[in-house]
């Protein structure tokens, strides 16, 4: 794909525009919304950087857990169904380990400063 500019550079350009040009001209609730917009772009930035890798390792874990081949979406759907129907024990260490690793990767994209993430990482 074209790399001049890269996707990350485009995101950074828009963040820069909002922060230095647009936000200073805004008032009231729009000031808050501009901050949310920047946060949305930072989330997008982290997802571009780490999303594919996180999904790839999650898929591998899911294949081991479910004992079948498949893409992430279909395996994840099958896992949800198995939990719902009681076909998999929700206290099983392998299930807990998969869910824990997956949600740590997700929160690192969504909210890397969340206190619950730090607590989960500290527990190792």
């Amino acid at each position: 794909m074209i790399e001049q500019p890269t996707a990350l550079e485009l995101v950074d350009a828009v963040i820069g525009f909002i922060e230095t040009r647009a936000a200073p001209q805004l008032k009231d609730r729009d000031v808050f919304l501009a901050r949310v917009a920047v946060n949305a772009l930072l989330t997008l930035r982290r997802e571009i950087e780490h999303g594919a890798a996180a999904e790839a390792v999650a898929s591998t874990r899911l294949q081991n857990l479910m004992g079948e081949e498949g893409d992430y979406a279909s395996l994840n759907r099958a896992l949800c169904q198995a939990i719902r129907e009681g076909a998999i024990d929700i206290t099983a260490p392998a299930l807990l380990a998969h869910m824990r690793a997956s949600i740590i990767d997700q929160v690192q994209i969504d909210q890397p400063n969340y206190s619950g993430l730090k607590a989960a990482l500290a527990e190792g």
């Binding site: 949305a40 949800c80 929700i90 299930l95 869910m99 824990r100 949600i103 206190s115 730090k118 607590a119």
Partner: protein, 331 residues
């Protein structure tokens, strides 16, 4: 309804808002949720202006279908006041003939509701160590409100809450293993409803007016009040999403479980086991995660196209990381 028309209508009944009031002025919009508007207004009297807060249902409300009518909310606040709980005064509930819409006025209470400031700012350092104790005592007062004579509100229990939020989650079409596992765990361990009391339903940072000098001054936002398990209120304020980074202090980011429970009992509350509080805390995390999904849906279906509604969908994962930690602890 335009602000000027609203102010004119309020002016007509100014005498009811404060003793000796002859007019009302300075109506200003403070915030507007989809289901609720908040305004500030002054009741003018010869002895001086009295600052008041107007709570009003928007002309075309959307969102929270669980909210009680504002007249019910006002009645509950008055019942809480009669029990000695810190709440705003409610001088007047508007009648249909007043032309103000569904609304009531309450006395303005000084203080701060923003959890991030209450948990972190130096201004609150002196009162912070006692806040969880105050919360426990006030919850005991709220749960002691006699049910006879209260307006009709919904009845709930852990299983009813689970059924309600599971339906909402299924309606979102999401496939989230941690939510699924939490549902299984919470259904399996749902406590029987042993004792039904009035439950505030949204007792947490954001709805508590905290003053730097004496702490908890008023419990606000009674719109989710219902009859149910009193432990629901104690668990909800312990949900990590209201701790604003102070993970080590489970009660609102400012206190410990033992403070909350000891004060609850000391104020006459029927003792509640810590396990029951933690059960409701877990249910609360799941509930907030599903609420974030529904708020995102209002973006996805075009009802509220703001970037804020889109982004709140990415907060469900914070509740899931808390849920997995809680699930591991009980596995």
């Amino acid at each position: 309804m335009e602000a000027a028309d609203l102010e004119r209508a309020i002016n007509q009944v100014a005498a009811k808002l404060a003793p000796g009031a002859t007019g009302a002025s300075d109506l200003r919009r403070l915030s507007g949720g989809a289901s609720q508007e908040t305004w500030s207004i002054l009741a003018n009297s010869p002895s001086g202006d009295v600052p008041l807060i107007l709570r009003r249902r928007p002309d075309s409300p959307t969102g929270s279908g669980n909210a009680v009518p504002l007249a019910t909310e006002a009645a509950l606040i008055r019942a809480a006041a009669a029990r000695g709980a810190p709440v705003p005064t409610v001088p007047y509930v508007f009648q249909e003939a007043d032309g103000v819409g569904e609304a009531y006025v309450m006395g303005k209470v000084e203080g701060e509701t923003l959890g991030s400031r209450i948990v972190r700012n130096d201004a609150f350092a002196a009162i912070r160590p006692n806040l969880a104790t105050q919360c426990g005592a006030v919850l005991a007062q709220i749960h002691a409100i006699p049910l006879e004579g209260l307006p009709e509100v919904a009845h709930s229990s852990a299983l009813v809450e689970l059924e309600k939020y599971e339906a909402v989650y299924r309606g979102c079409g999401a496939e989230r293993p941690i939510i699924e596992a939490a549902l299984v765990h919470l259904k399996r361990h749902a406590p029987a409803l042993e004792r039904q009391t009035l439950v505030h339903g949204d007792f947490r940072n954001g709805n508590l007016m905290i003053h730097p000098e004496d702490g908890l001054r008023a419990v606000l936002d009674w719109e989710l009040a219902h009859l149910g398990d009193p432990a629901e209120d104690l668990g909800w304020i312990c949900v990590n999403s209201w701790r604003f980074g102070n993970h080590a202090k489970p009660v609102g980011g400012f206190g410990d479980y033992s403070q909350l429970l000891d004060a609850y009992e000391a104020a006459g509350g029927t003792p509640i086991a810590l396990e029951r509080v933690k059960y409701w805390q877990m249910l609360g995390s799941m509930k907030w995660g599903i609420m974030c999904m529904t708020m995102y849906l209002s973006f996805a279906n075009g009802a509220d196209p703001s970037v804020e509604r889109a982004m709140i969908g990415r907060r469900t994962s914070e509740t899931e990381i808390d849920l997995i930690t809680l699930l591991e602890a009980v596995a």
